[in-house]
Symmetry: C2
Amino acid sequence: MAYRQTEHVAQRLEENRRRILKAARELVAEGGFAKAQITAVAKRAGLATGTLYRYFPSKDDLCRQVFREVSSREMNILAGIAAADHPALDRFDLVLRTFSGRALKSRRLAYALLAEPVDVALAEERTRFRKTHAAIFARIIDDAIAEGSVSPRDSKLVAACIAGAIPTALVGPLAPETDAQGSDDVLNSIVQFCFGALGVTARQTATKTQLESRL
Amino acid sequence: MAYRQTEHVAQRLEENRRRILKAARELVAEGGFAKAQITAVAKRAGLATGTLYRYFPSKDDLCRQVFREVSSREMNILAGIAAADHPALDRFDLVLRTFSGRALKSRRLAYALLAEPVDVALAEERTRFRKTHAAIFARIIDDAIAEGSVSPRDSKLVAACIAGAIPTALVGPLAPETDAQGSDDVLNSIVQFCFGALGVTARQTATKTQLESRL
DNA sequence: TCAAAATATGAATCTATTTTCATTTTTTAC
DNA sequence: GTAAAAAATGAAAATAGATTCATATTTTGA
């Protein structure tokens, strides 16, 4: 007997795993999942093609993991806002602005997560992602109904509508091309749209910063 | 010299072309574009695989044609309503109900057109389809603003939101599973959502039939 | 009936990736 | 230094499906 994995090697393996994920993430951020071919990922990670299969059982697994890493960050941020102990409509406003603002700041990545044509495996991950958005919206809407700030309605359906509306307006072929300036207008229009959809009309606009400090 | 295409043959060719498109359409209606493999289409059309290539230069072309045939029917119906000479909000209501009602009556097909994971060629066709929806909504919203029944806003952005919201609420993983009964509720919720989003709150609900007779 | 032209056929080929695996290199313990 | 085990390698194989094309069939006009 002669070889048993040492701490040193374990660390290098862990490091390699991270490099692979990082390489894949970068490629996705640059050109969507379409550019994340196994060979390209391996090359960028500085490893041989076959080596990737010692770390991930298949391309689907690797891409799913990338999707989850990126999307769960987003979901946690939104879930945190939704769970705060504040008036539902304030949380609604902030969730909308946070979601939209982040998407506009990383458009390519948002496109990959929300709108890029992907195969079935990634479409499944995307569904989780979008279902989570809908659940977050539905929860806040239910709270708003309970508070009496929104009249009763089918919160699940309304949440699905919003979860569909925002990505369409932000990324992909139906979204307007905007610079940083236009982004603010887009954001305000989306917020206005969503509040209106809930039947809330006379809400004064607060900036995201003001809302954040209030929470 | 001996052979030159006769009318009789020309008719059979035309007939074959139609059969191929019909077979493809049926497969798509049954299992989405994923089930429309060349061999499967040929088999259903009662032709050999190679024969299809005498009628369509590639699978992408065939699928695009199928997509266009089905989607242009829908677009024409909606465009007809949008162009009618009647109050904008009546047209808006009717377009929403027609779009949603038709999608719910042919869910599988609507899923293929609006939500199924497809490759880039079909994603392009889908983009046309969705852009047309947005354009129809935008036009009506502009009319409503001109009429004074809706306060000024970014009609393009609102239209994109609506074009994203409705498909999400109707088909695909975020849509509720509904029977014929529930369909009516879904439809009314969507209409309420969209009118609210335009800032129109106190509109009495009319049925689709009432609206149609009014136009 | 015949030959020329058009049309149909479907097994074989092509294509663009992912995935494998026999071989090489590295690591470890003695 | 050596041998056993692990890890890495990358060229070759596998895959799944679209596409081709040499061959067969059908159609036509004489």
